[in-house]
């Protein structure tokens, strides 16, 4: 279980995360929603070690993550798919995928081949285009590649930062659907940050609503989706 306790992250004395606490249960999809600037991305970047918290703690089961390096956190089984379909455009599709498993090449060479095969089965288009530069992919394909890069590291917790951003609704739904299937079939724990609350709450088990760096609601996804006053107050529709 991922436990966030009294987490504060500041940028030049502005509190981007203001005393946040919540938990994400293993094997389930927890979604973090909120308007632009609510602190969603900062939350993910703090969990993955890219930003340093001022105070508070982040634990994954019994493991304290708070002051670990980005690389060590990945090696603990926590993988982030950053915002904006982050792939390395100049490298080929296959190299981007290889990169995700590189750190465990020596300890798990055999499994690396299996993991690579699995992501190609999950996203056959990537196998077709494996020798092309990642920069030539469409937005949706790049998002698939970014997810594949994270998956070959065999994460136990997957952090997704706005995977549907900038994608056509159909493609976004397809990608969210694949994440959902993956979670249900493999027991992967997912923390899904989304601006598109409807899409996210439709697949999630639990919802966390952020506003100005604070948790304003922590509810089962169904209840959050049904609560129109929450939506009106914080998401503006």
């Amino acid at each position: 279980m991922l436990a966030i306790t009294n987490l504060v992250t500041e940028f030049a004395s502005i509190k981007a995360l203001d005393n946040i606490s919540f938990q994400a249960k293993p094997g389930l999809i927890t979604t973090v929603i909120g308007a632009n600037g609510a602190g969603k991305s900062t939350l993910l970047r703090t969990i993955s070690g890219l930003e340093r918290p001022t105070s508070g703690s982040i634990t994954w089961f019994d493991e304290e993550l708070t002051h670990k390096s980005v690389e060590a956190i990945v090696r603990s089984g926590i993988s982030q798919v950053p915002e904006g379909h982050a792939v390395i455009s100049q490298l080929s599709v296959a190299e981007n995928i290889e990169l995700g498993g590189l750190f465990r090449k020596r300890i798990a060479r055999g499994d690396l081949a299996t993991a690579t095969k699995e992501v190609y089965e999950l996203f056959p288009i990537l196998h077709e285009r494996r020798n092309e530069p990642a920069g030539s992919l469409s937005g949706g394909e790049r998002q698939m590649l970014a997810i594949s890069r994270a998956l070959v590291s065999r994460p136990k917790l997957l952090l997704l930062d706005e995977p549907s951003l900038g994608l056509a609704p159909l493609i976004a739904a397809q990608i969210i659907g694949i994440i959902n299937d993956l979670c249900r079939s493999t027991g992967l724990t997912v923390l899904l940050v989304e601006q598109n609350a409807n899409t996210a709450l439709a697949v999630a088990d639990h919802g966390i609503l952020l506003a100005l760096g604070k948790v304003v609601a922590d509810l089962p996804a169904k209840e959050m989706a049904a609560d129109s006053s929450l939506r009106a107050a914080y998401l503006g529709y």
């Binding site: 390096s69 993988s79 390395i88 465990r104 090449k105």
Partner: protein, 303 residues
């Protein structure tokens, strides 16, 4: 025809050395975003080490090998001892402007250059000395006719060619090579892939140290060795890197060879004193018409 061939071969040999210098500069530039002015100071220092060893009756090849290893160690040391602390998160938070963050390591590299020159002066009295080559510098003969290429030129070209082949294999076929390319292109995504970008960067400094150390060993049999001998090489190597494209390893090598030919042909067909003007004109032309370099990629804005 003879003068053309001799200009061509000597240009190839010189260009091979410039290619090494330029490769070393680009490796650090891509990996760490730092123009390392100390690079040829490091090479000068390791060439002195080799020279000292040869004086102490070590064989040329063991001195050669030890110089390359010292080159790697010195490169790694510069990164670990100075550049890493200077660019640490804590340090960069104290600096408010991005331009200061990028300038300070460059100035630090100038400081290292000064220190290395001073140390060479202290240890080796700074006197100019010769440096041996493993092959005779005479023209190769077939029967009675002299060919336009010397045995030493062939040695230089062969060594650099081998180095470039090994470097290419390293970068394109190994996981570590992929990690180095990825770290240079996008450090954040690379870190999020579990790769220790800091160490990969140090490895880049070490490989750059080997390349420039090799350049020092290959150029000094012709130029002699003194604390200032290799300064010129840095300028030429830097020009080569800019001409070829600072962001491209292949471009840096290509730029080195182009500079080798420019210098060699100006030397043969014009006059040695025009070489500098030629380099400068060439650099300015490149900067005006192709500022990203021959093989450099344009800055692509992602949308």
């Amino acid at each position: 025809m003879t003068s053309f061939l001799s200009a061509f071969f000597s240009g190839t040999a010189q260009g091979a050395i410039y290619a090494l210098v330029s490769l070393g500069l680009v490796l650090v530039w891509r990996g760490a975003g730092i123009v390392n002015f100390a690079q040829m100071g490091q090479a000068m220092f390791t060439t002195y080490i080799a020279s000292q060893l040869i004086q102490n009756d070590y064989s040329y090849w063991s001195a050669f090998l030890i110089a390359l290893i010292s080159g790697a160690a010195l490169g790694a040391l510069v990164d670990l001892g100075l550049m890493r602390p200077l660019t640490s998160r804590k340090n960069s938070q104290l600096l408010t402007s991005q331009s200061m963050r990028t300038t300070i390591p460059v100035i630090a590299s100038l400081g290292i250059l000064g220190v290395l020159k001073a140390l060479a002066g202290i240890f080796w009295a700074g006197e100019e000395r010769g440096f041996p080559s493993p092959v005779a510098p005479n023209a190769i003969k077939i029967g009675e006719t002299n060919l336009a290429i010397t045995g030493f030129d062939l040695f230089v070209i062969g060594t650099v060619f081998l180095t470039l082949v090994l470097t290419t294999i390293f970068f394109t076929k190994t996981g570590m090579g992929l990690a180095m390319r990825a770290s240079a292109l996008n450090p954040e995504v690379t870190r999020l892939s579990g790769i220790k970008v800091g160490w990969v960067r140090t490895l880049g400094w070490a490989i750059s140290g080997i390349a420039s150390s090799l350049a020092g060993l290959l150029v000094t049999p012709k130029t002699n060795l003194s604390p200032n001998t290799l300064d010129l090489l840095l300028i030429i190597g830097f020009t080569a890197a800019v001409v070829g494209g600072l962001s491209s390893l292949a471009g840096s090598v290509l730029g080195g060879f182009i500079l080798g030919y420019v210098i060699s042909f100006v030397n043969v067909y014009s006059a040695p004193e025009n070489v500098f003007i030629a380099i400068l004109v060439f650099l300015l032309l490149a900067l005006f018409f192709r500022p990203q370099g021959i093989l450099g990629s344009k800055q692509v804005r992602s949308v």
